[in-house]
């Protein structure tokens, strides 16, 4: 055994050294060693600087500096940019990109009628001011924040953290400068005279999972969440895979294991409370009523000592599923025999028994009476610094049971220095991260904005700007944009405006035969890219086309319909009671997200799983997506309502109706051929369905509509909602 281990270890080291040699690196042994010879020379660690905006020969094309960088590169390769997309495509593109909803037919009509030269730019301004902008881009940030409404791991109990989601939406709507956006989320609680909003912002790092399984070592999972906070911080703000240094010095980037644990120390002192969001009066009223309820329960055994015995009998009668459904605290108390429990544990179990056992109906009624006046107090999960900081040690091989040397908070030497001081905390770290000296933050941020608009970042490895990451396709442009972000006071809206107003962005997304061999992956941006819509937008487009969309912003998550049986796939079966009324038709941003059993229509279109940070979504293209759009009850409802809408809202001619339905789904008018194909379909349907009383009966036509006609139009509506173009930004 020993011999084998040694050999393996040796081989490992050898492979390691060879790879370092292969990368032209020198290996020096000793503490903080194994860095590349001169990491400071790696492009991403050199602060960005503004290169002069290049001159180009095709001077009529550029609309702003972005275009001159893009065009200069294209001219070098002797490639002409693509023509501008047509106005309707541009408009739908802007809507989907800036607010995540398609334009309505009347908006399209109005836009096409506008003849002023700046109508496009004015549309951009309108959309940037729309409250839906924050919803669209809020989701962009929530991917990074690994936001979800449940605790994850196996138990996956619901949690209340949606105030953080609303904070993000609001912050983006009011264009909170990105540096403040970062500081608030990492250390809002430590800001002088921190506001409630700033505390809520620290929910960013409370989006880690919480393991509520029995028998776990809690410290282990606290440390897991700190590891996750570091990994997320690295990917989200630095574009570095710092998690690699958890167990050993980073193999490729200049981050030693010791430096990793010095970063760890910044995050190791947080307390993780839930805070009430209510007035002081409401809180004290709630506390008073809660105390009254507890007192009522506490008195029961004093009045009747038999209660303890009954409680133990109740415990023994519980099935494993019933036990699992009880709170963590109760289940932990169950691990101890009655006589070994603390008074507090006894009280916890007693409370569960009194509140839940059917035998206690009388007490439950009495408690309900006491609690009737209790105000409902919303909570938020936040960070708070411990008074007494924890010691941080390096963990040997990343194993938290094996303490190495003790470390103090600090940052990797390859990056800009921290301000001097001995009691450095999370706020110092956040300010260091968001400082203009940081060579990475602005680059990483603009790259992720760019990625949303073009499908790929200027640096394709959006979360790895290190030596193993891809080189930027347009390095000067990346730096220019990064400088622009800081000089525009970290305004994200200024960057959105700049990008969508560029000629590069406005290009047609049609494939170009002339580029197939020269630039098959469109890295040079001689055209736009067609991008499948994000999972949430797929739903939102269906809601908007059918006219069902509820435009309400914010608030607790909702439960739109989902297929039966989804919730039973998790270890603990969670309830999913479909939201009634307007909440049934909210944007997908507000769909309750259980990590273990997420809504299938989101998963199937590649919504992130929220287990760890997601800086880029995958765009898969699968049969399960087809089944969802074709057969899922929610999408079928969209189709039926869309059919009814087309029949009632548009002129009576079929041609008009096809036009209207097309406009609702893809914003443009159908071609003659497309109309002809739909018309063929419509007439086949009318003929076939006339002979099918069952199809007509189940079509449930709205009042006044001819049931056969309604059923046939439902087929047409299903076709339109299933089109590739409907779920694509062109």
């Amino acid at each position: 055994m020993v011999a084998k281990m040694t050999t393996r270890f040796f081989l490992y080291l050898t492979r390691w050294s060879l790879s370092l040699v292969a990368f032209g690196l020198t290996v020096t042994m000793g503490a903080d060693s194994n860095k590349p010879a001169n990491p400071a020379k790696h492009w991403a660690f050199i602060p960005p600087r503004r290169a002069p905006v290049p001159t180009v020969s095709m001077t009529a094309w550029p609309r702003n500096a972005i275009d001159r960088f893009v065009l200069a590169r294209l001219e070098k390769e002797k490639i002409k940019p693509a023509p501008e997309a047509d106005r309707v495509t541009l408009m739908r593109r802007l809507y989907l990109d800036l607010i995540g909803l398609p334009p309505t037919p009347s908006e399209v009509e109005a836009f096409l009628k506008e003849s002023t030269p700046d109508s496009y730019e004015r549309l951009v301004e309108r959309l940037l001011e729309s409250p839906h902008h924050g919803e669209r881009w809020g989701r962009w940030w929530l991917d990074v924040a690994r936001y979800a409404d449940s605790n994850g791991y196996s138990i996956d109990a619901p949690r209340t953290i949606w105030r953080y989601r609303d904070w993000v939406v609001d912050a983006l709507n009011r264009d909170l400068p990105f540096d403040e956006f970062v500081v608030s989320q990492l250390a809002g609680d430590l800001l002088p005279e921190a506001t409630l909003e700033q505390k809520i912002a620290t929910g960013f790092h409370r989006n880690t999972q919480i393991n509520q399984e029995g028998g776990i070592d809690k410290e282990q999972f606290r440390i897991e969440s700190v590891f996750d906070r570091l990994a997320t911080t690295g990917s989200a703000f630095l574009g570095l895979t710092i998690g690699c240094a958890q167990c050993h010095d980073h193999k490729f980037d200049p981050i030693t294991q010791k430096e990793y644990y010095r970063l760890f120390a910044f995050f190791n002192n947080a307390d993780e409370p839930e805070i009430p969001i209510a007035s002081a009066d409401q809180i004290s009223q709630a506390e008073r009523i809660e105390a009254e309820g507890s007192a009522y329960i506490k008195k029961l055994p004093e009045k009747d000592p038999m209660v303890w015995g009954q409680m133990v009998a109740w415990e023994q009668s519980l099935t494993p599923a019933q036990r699992q459904a009880l709170s963590q605290q109760v289940r932990e108390a169950f691990d101890f025999a009655f006589e070994k429990r603390t008074d507090e544990q006894k009280q916890v179990v007693l409370t569960a028994y009194v509140e839940q056992a059917p035998a206690n109906r009388v007490h439950q009624t009495a408690l309900a009476r006491i609690r009737r006046q209790r105000p409902k107090i919303e909570t938020a999960m936040v960070m708070r610094e411990l008074r007494q900081p924890r010691d941080t040690h390096l963990f040997v091989k990343g194993d938290f049971t094996r303490h190495g040397e003790k470390v103090t908070p600090g940052v990797p030497a390859v990056l800009h220095p921290l301000p001097p001081g001995d009691k450095l905390n999370r706020l110092d770290f956040a300010r260091w991260l968001a400082s203009a000296e940081n060579p990475l933050l602005a680059r990483v941020a603009v790259n992720r904005l760019w990625q949303q608009y073009f499908g790929k970042g200027i640096v394709e490895t959006e979360n790895d700007f290190g030596s193993q990451g891809a080189r930027p396709s347009h390095p000067e442009l990346l730096d220019w944009l990064a400088m622009e972000l800081t000089s525009q006071g970290w305004s994200l809206k200024a960057m959105h405006r700049l990008i969508v107003n560029s000629a590069a962005y406005r290009q047609s997304s049609h494939a170009r035969v002339d580029l197939e061999t020269i630039d098959p992956n469109n890295r040079l941006l001689a055209r736009q890219n067609r991008l499948r819509l994000d999972a949430e937008v797929v739903r939102d487009v269906g809601l908007a086309a059918s006219g069902l969309l509820t435009q309400k912003l914010g608030g607790p998550p909702v439960f739109p319909p989902q297929p039966d049986g989804v919730m039973s796939l998790g270890q603990v079966k969670r309830e999913w009671r479909t939201s009634p009324g307007a909440d049934r038709y909210r944007r997908a941003l507000y769909t309750f997200f259980f990590r273990a059993t997420p809504h299938p229509a989101l998963v199937v279109f590649d919504a992130p799983d929220s287990f760890s940070t997601c800086t880029r979504r995958m765009r898969s293209n699968t049969p399960l997506q087809a089944l969802t759009l074709l057969n899922d009850g929610a999408f079928y409802e969209f189709a039926r309502v869309l059919a009814a809408r087309v029949l009632t809202e548009s002129e009576r001619s079929d041609a008009e109706r096809f036009r209207y339905a097309f406009h609702l789904c893809v914003a443009r008018s159908p071609t003659v051929q497309e109309v002809q194909r739909l018309n063929d379909l419509l007439h086949t349907e009318l003929n076939e369905l006339r002979l099918q009383p069952e199809a007509i009966r189940t079509a449930k036509a709205p009042e006044g509509a001819d049931p056969v006609e309604f059923a046939a139009w439902t087929t047409v509506a299903r076709v339109l909602l299933n089109l590739d173009e409907t779920i694509t930004r062109e």
Binding site: P320, F336, T461, A511, A596
Partner: protein, 495 residues
């Protein structure tokens, strides 16, 4: 391809054909490569032969060549979720019975950590002999517990690996570790790696299918069959035991299959027009996806309808009624692999045996053993009888095993144990009637041929014709593997 062969697109209306002929021929000819799969799907056998060999499969999960010749073409993984007690089932330790009730020597415990270690249980470290009778079976004379009378009859077809070892001792991370080679969420599961590596031979069903039985889903749920950073078409598709076997497989009420077909054809034609207009090959993938979806709507119900199985087959598995059961899932697994599905995983819960309610080594263990015993044995026999066992790898096991020490809650149980546990393999290039590995006299640690989870993964991939060091995916700046930086081939397991 100078002109578009309109015969390749049956069902397309004349205006569309006209459109395709008339415009942007260059694009269409390019896209036809991607469209091969769709066009092929609707062709007769004769036409198929005529179709160009160079047409690349439109479906991204289509079968691909392996690194080296494969011994196994497909996998059925019987996952006993919760950690089956190897000491009461497979790994017979008379010495443990002799020392029953005595404290475990300190030498065994030094430096070890256990689940529930911070809560106190009396007798935690006292040894617990098995209450089960063991006997030797088959030509190989392998020891099997009385709890598995049916599996005792297949010992000559399987190899018991008694020396398995894992890293993580809590259920959810341990299951992830067994499935993905990492306790962290976000890594692809083995089934995803395999279908990513060699695709699937099924045109009508997903390449990686998951079946579940028992009172609840496995801990962690879908992450156990997630594709992680691999494209989502490689993720496991859970067939559900009740209702529709795949979500949204049934058309909405009032929409029959002909109407669904007309809908899909119209979608296809309009998508084709857009493909011609934009030249985006993703549209051809989408058209292929709709065709697969349509085929799944008819193939999946046919799959789960076992009414055509003989009485003898149903009796072999012990299937008596229409109710979902583990045995029924075993039969479905055979039907899935017969239809070309590459990786089938069956989950059964709950094998956790701490001694608490529903988790005792007494009646509760007997019950879960009864749940699976006949089905597992029947599956191996049935595959063998049909000539499928030789290239189908069957795996039986959980995420870890259980301690030689007892745990007393209400009843007796054992704690989680990662240092030694038993998994068995059958078919697909694995030895038959063998035992690999050996534990010490108490069954605490491995003394010979340790088979770590990474080694099991390397070996499973090897049997499928894949080199675990070459099956990589670049993500977040580095290349990932199922076996991370570990994994050694268990050559003694190979036939």
């Amino acid at each position: 391809m100078n002109d578009v062969n309109t015969n390749l697109l049956p069902g397309m209306n004349p205006p569309m054909n006209h459109l395709l002929r008339g415009t942007r021929r260059h694009f269409f000819s390019r896209c036809m490569v991607g469209l091969g799969g769709i066009a092929l799907a609707s062709l007769s056998g004769q036409q198929r032969l005529l179709a160009s060999q160079e047409m690349k499969p439109a479906h991204p999960s289509a079968a691909k060549p392996s690194h080296h010749p494969a011994r196994a073409k497909r996998v059925i993984y019987l996952f006993m979720a919760g950690g089956p007690s190897q000491l009461d089932l497979w790994d017979y330790k008379p010495k443990l019975g002799e020392l029953n009730g005595q404290p475990i020597p300190d030498s065994y415990l030094a430096g070890k950590r256990f689940a529930f270690m911070d809560t106190s249980f009396k007798d935690r470290s006292k040894l617990l002999g098995t209450k089960r009778q063991f006997a030797r079976h088959g030509q190989s004379g392998a020891w099997v517990s009385e709890l598995f009378p049916h599996m005792a009859t297949i010992v000559d077809d399987i190899t018991l690996v008694k020396s398995c070892a894992a890293n993580l001792f809590n259920h959810a991370p341990a299951k992830l570790f067994m499935n993905t080679g990492s306790g962290q969420f976000g890594r692809p599961s083995m089934g995803s790696w395999v279908t990513y590596g060699i695709g699937s031979e099924s045109e009508n069903l997903p390449g990686f299918v998951v079946l579940q039985s028992g009172p609840r889903g496995p801990r962690g749920g879908g992450v156990n069959w997630a594709s992680g950073f691999l494209p989502t078409n490689f993720q496991g598709v859970p067939l559900r035991s009740g209702g529709d076997p795949i979500l949204n497989l049934r058309t909405p009420e009032g929409i029959d299959l002909p109407r669904q077909r007309r809908t899909i054809e119209a979608v296809r034609d309009l998508n084709l027009a857009r493909l011609v207009e934009t030249g985006d090959s993703e549209i051809s993938t989408r058209i292929a996806a709709y065709e697969m979806a349509y085929r799944m709507q008819s193939s999946a119900p046919e799959l789960i309808d076992v009414s055509g199985e003989s009485k003898a087959t149903l009796a072999l598995y012990g299937i008596q009624d229409e109710q979902p059961s583990f045995a029924r899932n075993c039969l479905l697994a055979r039907r899935l692999v017969e239809r070309g599905v590459r990786f089938v995983q069956l989950y059964h819960t709950n094998w956790d045996s701490h001694g608490g309610p529903g988790e005792s080594l007494e009646g509760d263990l007997e019950k879960v053993c009864r749940d699976v015993d006949q089905g597992c044995a029947a599956l191996v026999k049935d595959l063998k009888a049909r000539g499928l066992l030789e290239d189908t790898l069957v795996i039986w096991g959980g995420e870890f095993g259980r301690t030689p020490m007892g745990e007393s809650r209400e009843k007796t149980g054992r704690n989680h144990h990662i240092d030694a546990f038993t998994t068995w393999f059958a078919g697909g290039g694995v030895k038959a009637g063998a035992v690999l590995g050996e534990t010490d006299e108490l069954g605490f640690g491995v003394v010979r041929d340790r088979a770590h989870v990474h080694d099991l993964h390397a070996t499973i991939l090897h049997l499928l014709g894949l080199d675990h060091t070459k099956l990589v995916f670049r993500f977040q700046g580095r290349e990932f593997r199922l076996t991370d930086v570990e994994g050694e081939l268990l050559t003694k397991l190979l036939a």
